[in-house]
């Protein structure tokens, strides 16, 4: 078990190296000079050259790559060209918001997906099934940014129920505040989360619900479900305790993959809802050609993604006693 975790973490290394190299290569050939962007339209060519030299952008690519890896080994992701701050600090400052959004969206997507999927499966062929799955289909067919704007228009502008943009108090702090007797802080935090999380979750909820339905239908046909009924168990108990637990297994690994998709989808959602996370930062970093920052973001995404999938696999082993990690 421990050795499995270690092995998985070791496998992260070549992956991270690969991603750094790919990103590095891309950034080498991407047009756009961060020095010129930094200095703005008024900049003189000499000033740009001067800045390029001081940023080390004029060094040969292998020197830069080597320097980057050398710094990385020391745990240093470099300094952002634009924000005049260590990349790791900038990312850490943003990561929480994105993870919060993605996790809440994932929970939302899983809850919605599970409910719809289970209901559709046990009512297979009925109108409930049809309506549920139509909803799911629409969910995957909607461009995220469009859905986001529609939600904002409806719930924030027209109805005025929820704030249109921004983030409240970070959720962990808000939870703490709620525990210490200030529930309105949590409420504020949640109202800010509601729309972006919903917009982000819709697609995944739809995918998960379809998957849960398929998986449930499969499991409901299994012999052990019949055995459970043959024991005289009530239907609800069979569905939840016997079928759902098994149906969740294949869903689990997809939920892990969805987390990656949610991180990616956060780019659009965050920019629409002014959510101060990594997604927004990504767009900013690209549009400024902030090379060290882009590298750092890509690396962070990779690590988060890999860790989430590791956790999913461990969870998988925890839920399914047949799986031995070794």
């Amino acid at each position: 078990m421990l050795s499995y975790v270690i092995r998985r973490l070791l496998l992260l290394i070549p992956m991270a190296i690969g991603m750094v190299i790919v990103t590095f290569g891309l950034l080498l050939i991407i047009p756009g000079d961060p020095a010129a962007v930094l200095l703005g339209q008024d900049a003189t060519p000499e000033a740009i050259l001067n800045l390029r030299n001081s940023l080390g952008l004029n060094d040969p690519w292998y020197v830069r790559l080597f320097d980057y890896f050398a710094a990385l080994l020391r745990g240093d992701m470099g300094r952002s060209i634009f924000q005049n701050q260590a990349v790791s600090e900038i990312i850490l400052g943003r990561l929480g918001a994105t993870i919060e959004l993605a996790v809440v969206a994932l929970i939302l997507a899983t809850l919605i997906g599970l409910t719809l999927g289970v209901v559709a499966a046990i009512r297979q062929g009925s109108w409930i099934d049809t309506v549920t799955m139509l909803f799911a289909q629409i969910g995957v067919s909607m461009p995220v940014y469009w859905l986001g704007l529609l939600l904002m228009l409806l719930f924030a502008v027209q109805l005025g129920w929820l704030p249109a943009i921004g983030r409240g108090v970070p959720l962990p702090e808000a939870l703490l505040a709620a525990v210490t007797g200030r529930p309105q802080v949590l409420w504020d935090s949640l109202t800010h989360l509601a729309l972006p999380a919903l917009a982000l979750a819709a697609n995944s909820a739809a995918i998960i619900s379809r998957l849960v339905r398929a998986s449930m239908l499969e499991v409901l046909r299994e012999d052990f479900v019949r055995t459970a009924y043959s024991k005289g168990l009530r239907q609800g108990r069979v569905v939840v305790r016997h079928a759902l637990r098994n149906a969740l297994l294949p869903v689990l690994s997809v939920i892990g993959l969805r987390f990656g998709a949610l991180l990616g989808g956060a780019v659009l959602t965050e920019s629409i809802f002014a959510w101060p996370g990594l997604g927004q930062l990504t767009i900013a970093a690209i549009s400024q050609r902030d090379l060290p920052l882009i590298q750092g973001i890509v690396l962070t995404f990779a690590i988060v993604f890999a860790l989430v999938n590791l956790v999913v696999d461990l969870l998988y082993a925890a839920v399914d006693p047949r799986i031995r990690l070794g």
């Binding site: 050795s3 270690i6 092995r7 070791l10 070794g326």
Partner: protein
């Protein structure tokens, strides 16, 4: 019975071990000895049955001989020639002379191919004959196994289990092999159909002189089609003997147990089976000494210590037992 003195196939000390890996670096920490030093020979026109319960290594032996599982040790000679390394080139010509029929008639036929393509595949692979000749051969083979040639364009799922098994046999026959490994060819079939296939196999042997290495757990089937029987237990052969001898007087205590466990054919002669749990140990944790000693009524200290070798008995049987 067999005019040719040299055996067609001789297997010497065949081993198939699967590594067990563990740890961060996935080092090998042990092995599953699925086939652990099996030796036997097969003559022309003969049927040798490998009998045993699941996990005894009988199927792995068959797959290893077909090169579908790579042996980790031992020697195989086919028609006097050693098959070295079981690599592609070594197997190529050997495969024309040795074929296999699988147990499950459903998964052994590609569901996306037409019957004629399935049967013709061996001819295509070995580039035998022209296109027209191959088609003729397909028709001939279908007739030979009792299928109507007009069914050649159908897909496998349009046939019943018995018919599918006939297709599998036709495919195995396409290259005119000398040996066919029959891996439980009838165990998935209904009794009435099982009889049809067994009859067909018996007819083919009579007409074509092909040898069978039959792999089975069903003593009835074994009794019907074999000349000789090899009983396997946990990767080892514990007894080889001519069929009549083995059924009349089993040598090894395990053979005896097998015979005794078969249900009776007569309700008036019911067995009084013991309900006590007496499981087959798994191949990963083999007992030391004689593999059968934990279940053996005759077991003594020597059985727990030393592994008995396969030794000839007076009646021509080879038995691996300290006490027989």
């Amino acid at each position: 019975m067999q005019p040719d003195a040299t055996p067609l196939l001789s297997v010497d000390n065949l081993e198939v071990h699967f590594p067990i890996r563990a740890g961060v670096l996935q080092r090998q920490v042990g092995a599953v000895k699925a086939v652990d030093g099996v030796s036997f020979s097969l003559n022309r026109g003969e049927t040798l049955s490998l009998v045993g319960e699941s996990g005894c290594g009988k199927s792995t032996t068959g797959l290893a001989l077909m090169g579908l599982v790579k042996p980790t040790g031992g020697q195989v000679r086919f028609d006097g020639q050693e098959i070295k390394g079981f690599n592609r080139s070594a197997l190529k010509s050997y495969r024309r002379r040795m074929q296999i029929v699988f147990q499950d008639p459903f998964s052994s036929l590609n569901p996306r191919q037409r019957v004629k393509d399935i049967i013709r595949a061996p001819l295509d692979v070995h580039r035998i004959g022209t296109r027209a000749e191959r088609d003729d051969r397909v028709a001939e083979l279908m007739q030979r196994v009792g299928l109507r040639p007009d069914q050649a364009d159908n897909f496998a799922h349009q046939f019943s289990g018995g018919q599918r098994q006939r297709i599998g046999i036709a495919r195995a026959l396409a290259l005119n092999p000398d040996v066919i490994v029959c891996d439980e060819p009838v165990s998935a079939l209904d009794v009435s159909v099982q009889a049809q296939i067994l009859n067909l196999l018996s007819d083919l042997q009579r007409d074509l002189g092909v040898s069978y290495l039959s792999i089975s757990h069903d003593l009835g089937v074994v009794e019907f089609i074999s000349h000789r029987v090899a009983v396997m237990y946990l990767g080892k052969i514990v007894e080889i003997a001519p069929k009549t001898k083995i059924f009349a007087s089993p040598g090894h205590p395990y053979t005896e147990l097998l015979m005794r466990s078969a249900p009776s054919r007569d309700p008036r002669k019911r067995h009084s089976f013991s309900a006590t749990n007496d499981d087959i140990p798994s191949a990963t944790r083999k007992p030391s000494g004689c593999p059968f000693n934990p279940r053996c009524p005759l077991a003594t200290d020597i059985c727990r210590r030393d592994e008995p070798a396969l030794t000839p008995r007076d009646d021509g049987a080879l038995v691996a037992c300290h006490h027989r």
